[in-house]
Structures are given as structure tokens and as C-alpha cells.
């Protein structure tokens, strides 16, 4: 009787241990999924209408087209034979298991900051998804960029390997935000200026730049003249990141993708941590005076035509004084996106319109119509010049040529 009981107890204990191990394992997988979302892996590694993480998405670059790789656990086509060490090496050092160099379109210069534990969790999650037997498609890079040895040069100039080092003078929350923004979030891939060699120098981190190929301007995260969040409330920042809309403006262009695939899934604590960090890196810079390449007479003609265009086409939503009806119809007065030195984004919004992403917090967003077919180059330039200078906005007028050039910007 006694022995039966102890066997039963032993069996129970064994079962509990297995159950614990499974629980622990499923916790790690769930954390890995969360972190994979924070890293927005799906944006590149899942093709439109393709299977999850099976790769094959074309990534046009100034150097040719890259095709993303299959990161499902398929042993032949995917990463089924990789170990957690292999995966960490990829994330941390930008090298394949055989030591081969990875093109820096994979943001390993950011992912290098990810901790070993987080890398392992992401790997555990990727091991748990359905394997897909879809072969990787070879890249189509032009000479001389098809030579992977060139990556060595890029790495020497722009890659510094190393996990995130917390700043002991800052709060735990600030450091968590920094870890997410600089690491998995890889915000610097777009928000730092990219030079002709496809790299970013450390001193230019988060200073903004035109995104190659996409022709959207990723504004500076440090200058309050651009997307610096120095004078935003915490709620406006977290609303913007989590729902895609806020009292200060809505996400659009490539940022809509980031909120849709990644940021909307982050929990309140992490979102707040990112907001604390982003607010913290904003420099309290005084805005430089607006400078325009246009002669004064041309500017004033544009602005007066612009008011006519605005009142007819825009005021019904954005208000006669640019006050909008936030968050769904964004205000244009005192809107950094409208006023910043680069006029690329406001011109493109007028031409292409757009919807903020549908998110848990804003599942049925309001959209802006594309005006490319309704307005001439002159009218586009005029209305953008008007909204950049009216109501106390401190932007500069733009020319019809600038408007015309962006008509051919790619839409996807």
C-alpha cells in the first residue's frame, strides 16, 4: 500500500515536473513571440500572401534586390539545423553559422545589443512555428555589391558589436526603453541618416534621413523641429506608438508598417519605457529660421493659391485654422511633420493620402484621400507651402518641381 502510494506520488511528481518544464518552455516561447514582434521580424521575413517567416520577400536596395530568408524550423530550407548558439551569432555578430557574412539589410548592427536570453527566447519561438519547405531565393545584386567580402569594409566602418550596456545614471525604465529602441526596435535603421555606403555613423544616430528607395523622410528623433518628442505628453507618445494615432499626429508611410506589425503588440510598460527614452533623447534645440530656396514673390503667390486649394479640399477635415479633429483628423497647425525642413512627407501625404494602420486601439482608422489625380504640381506645391507657413507654422515654401519629383515615388 505504502509502496503503491509512493509510486503514485513519484509518478505525480514526475508529471508535475514535466508539466513545469512544459509551462516554462511555453513561457519562453510566448516571450520569444513577443520579442520577435518587438523586433518586427515579420516585416521582412514574411512575404505578401506568403507563409509566416518563410522569407522570399523582395527588398529593393540601392545596390540591387535582396530576398529575405526562410527562418522557419524546416531543416533544409529554413533554420531547422541551427543551434541557439548559431542564432545568437547571427543576431549578435551578423554571421551565418558557417561564418559567412550577412548583408546589413538585416539589422544586426541593432540586434547586436539584444541579450543572450532574449535571443534564445526568439530562437525557441521560431523553433515552435510550422516549418515551411520553401527554398531561399538568391539575391540579385549588381557588381560589385554581389561580392560579400565588401561587407567586411562596411562592418569596419559602421558595425560595433556588443550587447546593450545600461546607463547607471538613468532609471531602469529609461534603460529598458533604450534597449528596445536601439536593439530589437532597430529604429536607427530608418531614423538615422544613411550615407552613400549604406551606413550610419554613430554620431549621427537618430538624426533623421531620407529612406533610400522608399522616398519617405524618417525624421530626426532628437530634434524637436522634426520628430523629437521633447514637448509631447507621455500619453500622446504612447498613443502614437500603440494605436497609430494621437492628438499630435498620426503615423503614415513606413511608420504605419512598424506600428501595424510591431509596436501595437508591445505591452503598456514597454511602450511607456520607449516613450520615456524617446522623450529623453530629444534635444531642447531652438528652431533655426525657415530657409526657402524660392524667391519671395514666388513664395507669396504660392501661399495665396495654397489657401484657396486648402479651403476647398482640406479645411473640411483639418479645419480652417489647421486645428483638425484629433486624433482621427490630425491637426496641421503646430505639427512637426508638416513644418520640418524636409517637405517630402507633407508633399507625399497630399499626393498619396493614406490610412493609419488598423490596430487594437484604433481598429477602423479614418483615411485621407490621395490628391495626385486632382491637383496639379503647382497646386500641390501651393497647398503644402500654405500649411507649412500658416497658423504660426515655421516651415518653408516648396516648389512645383519638388512636388512633381515625388509623383514617381514608389508606393509599396
Amino acid at each position: 500500500m505504502g509502496s503503491k502510494l509512493s509510486i503514485a506520488l513519484l509518478a505525480l511528481a514526475a508529471l508535475t515536473t514535466v508539466a513545469h518544464a512544459q509551462d516554462k518552455n511555453s513561457d519562453v516561447i510566448a516571450r520569444g513571440e513577443y520579442l520577435a514582434r518587438a523586433g518586427d521580424c515579420t516585416a521582412c521575413h514574411t512575404a505578401p500572401e506568403g507563409r509566416l517567416f518563410a522569407g522570399g520577400r523582395a527588398m529593393p536596395t540601392p545596390f540591387g534586390t535582396l530576398y529575405t530568408s526562410n527562418i522557419t524550423p524546416d531543416p533544409e530550407a529554413g533554420i531547422g539545423k541551427w543551434t541557439a548558439d548559431d542564432f545568437y551569432r547571427t543576431m549578435h555578430s551578423g554571421r551565418f553559422p558557417d561564418g559567412g557574412l550577412i548583408y546589413p539589410a538585416m539589422p544586426f548592427a541593432s540586434y547586436t545589443k539584444v541579450t543572450r536570453a532574449d535571443s534564445d527566447a526568439i530562437f525557441a519561438y521560431l523553433r515552435s512555428i510550422p516549418p515551411v519547405n520553401q527554398k531561399n531565393r538568391p539575391h540579385e545584386l549588381r557588381f560589385p555589391y554581389d561580392n560579400r567580402q565588401l561587407i567586411l569594409g562596411w562592418r569596419t566602418l559602421f558595425f560595433s558589436e556588443g550587447e546593450f550596456k545600461p546607463d547607471p545614471t538613468k532609471s531602469a525604465e529609461w534603460n529598458r526603453g533604450a534597449y528596445l529602441v536601439e536593439g530589437l526596435g532597430h529604429c536607427g535603421m530608418c531614423h538615422s541618416p544613411i550615407n552613400a555606403l549604406g551606413g550610419t555613423s554613430q554620431s549621427d544616430a537618430f538624426k533623421g534621413g531620407l529612406i533610400p528607395m522608399q522616398n519617405w523622410y524618417a525624421p530626426s528623433l532628437t530634434s524637436n523641429r522634426e520628430a523629437g518628442l521633447g514637448d509631447w505628453s507621455m500619453k500622446d507618445i504612447t498613443d502614437y506608438l500603440q494605436t497609430g494615432v494621437s492628438k499630435r499626429g498620426a503615423v503614415y508611410g513606413p511608420m504605419a508598417e512598424v506600428v501595424h506589425n510591431s509596436l501595437q503588440y508591445l505591452n503598456d510598460e514597454d511602450t511607456k519605457a520607449m516613450a520615456v527614452y524617446l522623450k529623453g533623447i530629444a534635444e531642447g534645440s531652438t528652431p533655426p529660421p525657415a530657409s526657402s530656396i524660392l524667391p519671395n514673390t514666388e513664395s507669396s503667390l504660392l501661399v495665396s493659391l495654397g489657401k484657396t486649394v486648402y479651403d476647398k479640399n482640406c479645411a473640411s477635415c483639418h479645419g480652417t485654422q489647421g486645428e483638425g479633429k484629433a486624433p482621427h483628423w490630425p491637426p496641421l497647425a503646430n505639427n512637426q511633420s508638416i513644418e520640418m525642413q524636409s517637405a517630402v512627407n507633407p508633399i507625399r501625404m497630399v499626393l498619396n493620402g493614406g490610412y493609419p494602420p488598423g490596430t487594437k486601439g484604433n481598429p477602423m482608422p479614418y483615411g485621407m484621400p490621395p490628391f495626385a489625380g486632382l491637383l496639379s504640381d503647382n497646386e500641390v506645391a501651393a497647398v503644402v507651402s500654405y500649411i507649412r507657413t500658416a497658423w504660426g507654422n515655421r516651415g518653408s515654401p516648396v516648389s512645383a518641381r519638388e512636388a512633381n519629383e515625388l509623383r514617381s515615388a514608389p508606393l509599396n
Binding site: 479633429k325 498619396n352 493620402g353 493614406g354 490610412y355 481598429p363 483615411g367 509599396n412
Partner: protein, 235 residues
């Protein structure tokens, strides 16, 4: 006395609540689908009734299942038109469904039939193909799937009325060349593959001259049997 005090307190509370709601809505766009789809109106017109631009289709009154399939196809890039692909890229399924339902439930009057620029012979050829097909060339009649009144069938087969010849012609061309595709079996691709350019011109011209029927609503699912399988209209 107590009852009166309670009643006035309740009234105050109600008024305050009402005020709050009024203030909120005054500063917010209308909470309607019409306001949410204003991004669509420059090309598709108010309520999806169409515009003067002959290349942009009317959406109003088409079956919701058809419209939803198109929204999904534009979102994924299967159906290629960059301005549409771009607008829909990050919108979730339930929202696209709501958009489809919205346009399907709108019934602004159909436009006047177009004045045609083609000859009587060409129109007659178009009518023959649309209403009888050409069995020798494996071309079914348009009406065999799109309905005797060309109003379409729920949930996935669109009506063909209220569209202009250049749009119909462009779409048939896209099916022929394989730049427009749909779920397998891709019935329209099979049909369009048998059409010549002259057929396309004739059919598009005749369809665009059709007057509005008394009841332009798509017929119910299963009203008639399709001549062959169609991925967009599951049985």
C-alpha cells in the same frame, strides 16, 4: 420633496452626460463608415457611385463578397494598382469587411448609359458574346454568370452595370494577360483567355450602353447554376 430632488438630480446628471457626449462628438469626425471611407471618394465617388473618370469603377451596390475579395487582393498586392495597394496595406480583415458591406448597401442611382463610339456591327457582336457566348471558341455568355440582368449574384459575382467601356476593357485585358488574377479556379482568366482584342472592345462597348434595370440589386446566392467552377463563388 425627496422624489423631486432625486428627479432634478437625475436630470442634472443626464444633462451633464449629454453635454459630455455632445462636446466629444463636436470635436470628433462623425462616427460613420461614410466618414471613414472618405479616402475612397475622389476616385470612386460619394457612396461609391463612381466619378467622371472612366477608369475608376462604381462600387455601390456590388455584392459585399466581391468587394471584400477585391479589398483583400489589393491589400496583398495580388491585384496590382499601387495607389490602392498602398491605401489598404495595413488595414485588418474586419475593417475591410465593413468597407465592403458599406459600399454593397449603398444604392445611388445608376448613371445614364454611355454614348458609344463603336459601330452598330461591333455593338451587335458585343451583345451576341455577352448574351449567348460563342460555344465554338469556349466563350460562355457574360449573363451565364453575371446574371440575366447583369446585376451579379451574391456573394462573389459582381454586376457589370454602371461601368464605362475603358474600365471593362482594361480589366478584361488584365485578365487576358494574367496581371489580374483571382482564387483558383480562376474563372475570369479562363474566359478572358479565349477573347480576342476585338471581342474585348465589343463586349466592353455593349455592356457600357446597358440601361439601368428596375431592380439593380444582385440576385441571391444559388438563384442560377454557374456553367463551371469559380474560386470566387464557392458552392
Amino acid at each position: 420633496m425627496f422624489a423631486r430632488a432625486a428627479a432634478s438630480a437625475a436630470l442634472v446628471v443626464t444633462l451633464a452626460a449629454f453635454d459630455g457626449v455632445a462636446a466629444q462628438t463636436a470635436n470628433q469626425p462623425p462616427d460613420t463608415m461614410a466618414a471613414r471611407v472618405e479616402a475612397c471618394t475622389p476616385c470612386h465617388g460619394n457612396k461609391g457611385e463612381g466619378t467622371n473618370d472612366v477608369y475608376f469603377p462604381r462600387l455601390a451596390g456590388k455584392p459585399a463578397g466581391y468587394l471584400y475579395n477585391q479589398l483583400l487582393a489589393f491589400r496583398s498586392g495580388r491585384r496590382k494598382y499601387p495607389p490602392m495597394n498602398y491605401l489598404l496595406e495595413f488595414l485588418p480583415d474586419p475593417y475591410l469587411e465593413a468597407m465592403a458591406e458599406y459600399f454593397a448597401s449603398e444604392h445611388p442611382p445608376l448613371p445614364q448609359p454611355a454614348q458609344t463610339e463603336v459601330s452598330k456591327d461591333v455593338l451587335a457582336q458585343g451583345e451576341l458574346l455577352a448574351t449567348s457566348g460563342d460555344a465554338n471558341r469556349n466563350i460562355p455568355a457574360c449573363v451565364s454568370c453575371h446574371g440575366p440582368g447583369l446585376t451579379g449574384m451574391q456573394p462573389g459575382i459582381p454586376g457589370l452595370l454602371g461601368l464605362r467601356a475603358p474600365y471593362i476593357s482594361a480589366q478584361l485585358g488584365a485578365w487576358r494577360y494574367g496581371t489580374r488574377t483571382a482564387k483558383s479556379p480562376d474563372c475570369m482568366q479562363l474566359v478572358a483567355g479565349h477573347l480576342t482584342e476585338a471581342d474585348v472592345t465589343a463586349v466592353a462597348a455593349w455592356l457600357a450602353t446597358r440601361p439601368a434595370p428596375d431592380n439593380p440589386a444582385p440576385v441571391a446566392k444559388g438563384t442560377y447554376a454557374l456553367p463551371f467552377g469559380c474560386g470566387s463563388q464557392p458552392n
